[in-house]
């Protein structure tokens, strides 16, 4: 707050009036602890009088206990938050700091500098307008400086402060400073052509060129860090691009009102403007811009509003309202730069959830074309992406979505990938361009046949027919297999006695005739499911060869896989999980397979599973291996 404003004491109302109209600047600080990054932030907070007396007291006592500055205040302690980090002396996560001067409010994303925290830096950079790159004047441009420059420019930051720190340790040498600056310019040319770089010589520890210019560097004629931060244009590039608003929520309090709520991602909008709802492309005119404090004449990028339209066009959450003159493209296939954020590496071919704006779709991420070495910026071969690796890859979505290239609009081209099993956020992606523009393709009336349905799911249909005695382990294995398939993003369904006997086949008993009819119906349902493109797991005793043959004949060539769960009667009877054998032996159940009804083992099953020497999980792996070998797990 830099309390040098006498207005606070003399005329608080006038002061507040003035301060309500401050702008907001978000910046990120990149560097390691050794570069004095935390010291710099601590210093900014301290000089902006953002440290209160009680905090200062605990800072002083902490400084003496664990500080690295002897009797002096260790500003770094002020910003190293979590206990574990304080002990280890490193900043692990992104921490957000706030301070304000008379001119601006600032939000600082304070991120760690080591390579293993690339994802944290990318997160902090994603919302920042300016990056401060910390350089130790004694060391010059290091590998990590290159890495930080690359990550911040990748995420779209175009204003960079090259903070050459610890100038006090090299006697404020202009020559050393100039050499570092030259080095950096030579390198920055490779990054982006439109970078605006502001080098500043400084000493965070001594407070040189932080809040004001210092005599120590009389050869330097640029701004102090604070002067720069207070005056750099909060260049809202977004304002000068065409209107975009992802629809977050359809606002429908009653039948007479239907509005579309969202935060404007780009451009501006006024009542009367023509807009399109993407991906449908339906056009309408903006009727009102509704807010709780009254309708607006105009709304601009960054505002959260509710828009009503003249026509009742179809538009729901995840759609994007765009300028009709300059609409966004729509596509379902992209090339993107991907930063992997999970300890579990990218599985090419796997399906992930992709969330961009308010839209969540399923995306298959293909194998990377190449990786990018964050230290050298060279392309490197990559089959997958590990934690913190960056690569270029293509993605296929299960539906077309509106987008803009990331370099044009962060919010219309930036997405996250979510693992469908753990729900963790595993990747951050930046759309470069569409592989084909769905908006330019005229959809032909197309028969949606079984191969189209399977292709849509990215799989080949199959019927896995588990046969074996009661208690042999059919359902347990089928269940284990289904989990494995599901984890690979396959669309599956299991038919077993439990879900069929209680409904569809409720009218059937266990006489031979009823058993035949039971299997006939189940086989036909399985056929319908494979027509729908599913991998169907059928788990029935199905004791008779002829019925299994009938089922096999129903399916397309190669789609029927007979899995004989071969458990000897004595073993099944020993297990007797449901207590049925006991009842059958006691004569309480009639027509029980293996006791008083025959079981005809398959003569040439695709697979025979030995459950005596294999666990259900091992059995499931065997079946999965078989499917892989037969090419049943590859998408189109």
């Amino acid at each position: 707050m830099r309390l040098n404003d006498d207005l606070i004491e003399s005329d608080i109302a006038a002061y507040l009036e003035k301060h309500e109209h401050k702008s907001l600047l978000r910046f990120i600080t990149c560097g390691s602890v050794d570069d004095g990054k935390s010291t710099l932030i601590g210093r900014l907070l301290y000089d902006a009088k953002m440290i209160f007396e009680d905090q200062l007291a605990s800072l002083e006592s902490d400084s003496k206990k664990v500080g690295t500055q002897g009797e002096n205040i260790d500003f770094a302690l002020l910003v190293d938050g979590l206990t574990a980090e304080r002990e280890q002396g490193i900043t692990i996560d992104v921490a957000y700091r706030f301070f304000a001067t008379d001119k601006r409010k600032f939000i600082v994303a304070d991120t760690p500098g080591h390579e293993q925290y690339t994802r944290n830096m990318a997160t902090g950079a994603s919302t920042a307008d300016v990056a401060i790159l910390m350089v130790d004047a004694r060391k010059g441009i290091l590998t990590q400086t290159r890495r930080h420059s690359f990550i911040t420019s990748l995420l779209g930051i175009r204003k960079v402060v090259l903070a050459i720190n610890k100038m006090d340790l090299i006697n404020y040498s202009q020559q050393a400073y100039d050499d570092i600056v030259d080095d950096f310019y030579a390198f920055a040319d490779e990054l982006a052509t439109d970078l605006e770089i502001q080098p500043i010589p400084m000493s965070a520890l001594e407070g040189v060129n932080i809040t004001s210019k210092s005599n120590e560097t009389d050869w330097y004629d640029g701004p102090s860090l604070m002067d720069y931060l207070e005056t750099v244009p909060v260049g809202d590039r977004r304002l000068n691009t065409p209107f975009r608003m992802p629809v977050q929520w359809v606002n429908r309090p009653n039948l007479d009102f239907r509005g579309f709520s969202g935060q404007i991602a780009a451009g501006s909008i006024q009542p009367g403007d023509r807009v399109k709802s993407m991906p449908s492309g339906k056009q309408s005119t903006v009727q009102r811009i509704v807010t709780a404090t009254g309708d607006l004449e105009q709304a601009i990028a960054g505002q959260s509003v509710t828009i009503t339209l003249d026509d009742e066009i179809d538009c729901s959450r995840g759609d994007v309202l765009v300028s009709a003159e300059d609409p966004s493209e729509v596509s379902d296939q992209f090339q993107a730069r991907l930063l992997w954020m999970s300890e579990t590496p990218l599985l090419p071919g796997r399906r992930y959830l992709l969330k961009m704006g308010a839209k969540t779709v399923t995306a298959t991420v293909n194998a990377p074309k190449y990786g990018i070495d964050v230290n050298t910026l060279n392309d490197v071969p990559a089959k997958t992406l590990e934690l913190n690796q960056i690569g270029v890859t293509t993605l296929s979505l299960d539906q077309a979505i509106p987008y803009d290239p990331y370099d044009v609009n962060r919010e219309m081209g930036g997405f996250i990938l979510i693992d469908r099993m753990t729900n963790d956020t595993v990747g951050l992606g930046l759309v470069d361009f569409a592989l084909r523009r769905a908006s330019n393709i005229h959809w032909q009336a197309m028969d949606v046949d079984r191969s189209a349905l399977a292709e849509q799911k990215g799989q080949k249909p199959a019927v896995l027919w588990f046969t074996g005695l009661s208690g042999s382990g059919k359902s347990t294995i089928a269940n284990a297999l289904q989990k494995l398939l599901f984890a690979q993003g396959k669309h599956t369904f299991t038919l077993d006695g439990d879900n069929v006997r209680h409904g569809l086949n409720r009218d059937l008993g266990f006489t031979d005739a009823d058993r035949v009819e039971n299997i006939r119906r189940v086989a036909n349902v399985a056929r319908l499911m494979s027509d729908a493109g599913l991998i169907t797991l059928v788990s029935f005793i199905s004791p008779f060869r002829s019925e299994r043959q009938m089922a096999r004949n129903l399916m397309a060539d190669g789609e029927f896989i007979e899995v004989y769960v071969d458990t000897p009667l004595s073993v099944a009877e020993d297990r007797d999980v449901k207590g049925l054998y006991k009842k059958a032996r006691a004569g309480e159940i009639k027509n029980f397979t293996g006791i008083d009804s025959p079981y005809e083992p398959p003569q040439a099953p695709e697979l025979r599973i030995d459950t005596v020497n294999n666990s259900p999980e091992e059995a499931a792996e065997v079946i999965l291996g078989f499917m892989r070998e037969k090419g049943l797990l590859n998408g189109e």
Partner: protein
């Protein structure tokens, strides 16, 4: 074309967050603590969905030791705005007679606040709960995500928090897990006061200075709000012109001597003051890093 001020940008970000929860979560709730931050959060919720009503209820975890004025204000405000208000009290704690005077602040807060909150979230099976916490309040909060995930046991694991690039939030959770959402994450205390002033938001009168009966307990001036305060303590009461910078359980909320009777006075005092906002709270003083520890255990 007008430029957005910092308050405009903070407001727009908060509306976006609140809407995102309403759109993606099954059963959200807004935790309402009756304080000034809650007042701002409530105001933002009304704005986010206008002309619709916010599609979630309010819930107050009542330790039974809140200032009486807070309870009156709470009930009136919920009614005025047309919110469903759920009030949860840890009845086990009431039965055992748990209170700050008899059990001390640590036990009282744990039983009547932390535990009560877990009970309430389990009872109603809320999968998302809005809270009014801000990152500038305390050091460990500076790294808190806007969407903060909790295990089925309500534990916060700093290592499993999700990255939040741009304004894209992954709200997906597994069975039994829940998420705490902090729409005011990027606001500072000064932003809150400026916004209250700009939007003319009503707050509990306890924030404004007035003559009130206070006693000195453990080095902090606390207000005599009812006769559950031990007689020998109550008998030492003196009337002083005081106000409160934060509101909670009356025996745990330190009063500051002040004559600031208007919003402008309060902000002026705040800008000239030299102690931080949380200093009046008894809970932080225990040990360094205490808030982080509490958070891992499920304290909001």
């Amino acid at each position: 074309m007008k430029n957005l001020t910092h308050l405009d940008r903070l407001e727009a970000e908060s509306l976006h967050i609140i809407r995102e929860v309403a759109a993606e979560c099954e059963n959200p709730v807004m935790l309402y603590s009756v304080g000034k931050d809650s007042a701002v959060m409530l105001h933002l919720a009304m704005k986010a969905f206008y002309p619709s009503r916010p599609p979630f209820p309010l819930m107050h975890v009542d330790t039974t030791w809140k200032f009486r004025e807070m309870i009156e204000f709470r009930d009136r405000k919920a009614k005025e705005l047309g919110f469903d208000l759920l009030v949860h009290v840890n009845e086990d704690g009431v039965r055992d007679g748990v209170g700050p005077f008899s059990h001390g602040s640590a036990v009282h807060t744990d039983v009547m606040k932390t535990l009560a909150l877990k009970q309430a979230l389990d009872k109603y099976k809320f999968d998302a709960a809005f809270g009014g916490a801000r990152r500038d309040e305390e050091k460990s909060r500076a790294k808190e995500r806007i969407f903060s995930f909790r295990s089925a046991e309500h534990r916060w694991d700093p290592k499993r928090q999700r990255p939040e690039p741009w304004n894209v939030y992954n709200t997906r959770i597994n069975q039994g897990e829940s998420v705490r959402v902090f729409p005011l994450s990027n606001w500072t205390e000064l932003d809150i006061w400026q916004y209250i002033r700009r939007e003319n938001i009503e707050i509990v009168p306890l924030y404004f200075a007035a003559p009130r009966p206070v006693v000195n307990w453990n080095g902090v001036d606390i207000m005599v709000d009812d006769d559950r305060m031990p007689e020998e303590l109550r008998s030492t009461a003196v009337t002083k012109s005081v106000r409160f910078r934060t509101l909670g359980c009356y025996p745990l909320t330190g009063a500051v001597e002040s004559t600031a009777a208007t919003l402008e006075d309060i902000i002026q005092e705040m800008l000239l003051t030299t102690t931080s906002e949380r200093q009046g709270r008894v809970i932080d003083a225990d040990q360094s890093g205490s808030m982080e520890k509490k958070k891992q255990e499920g304290y909001f």
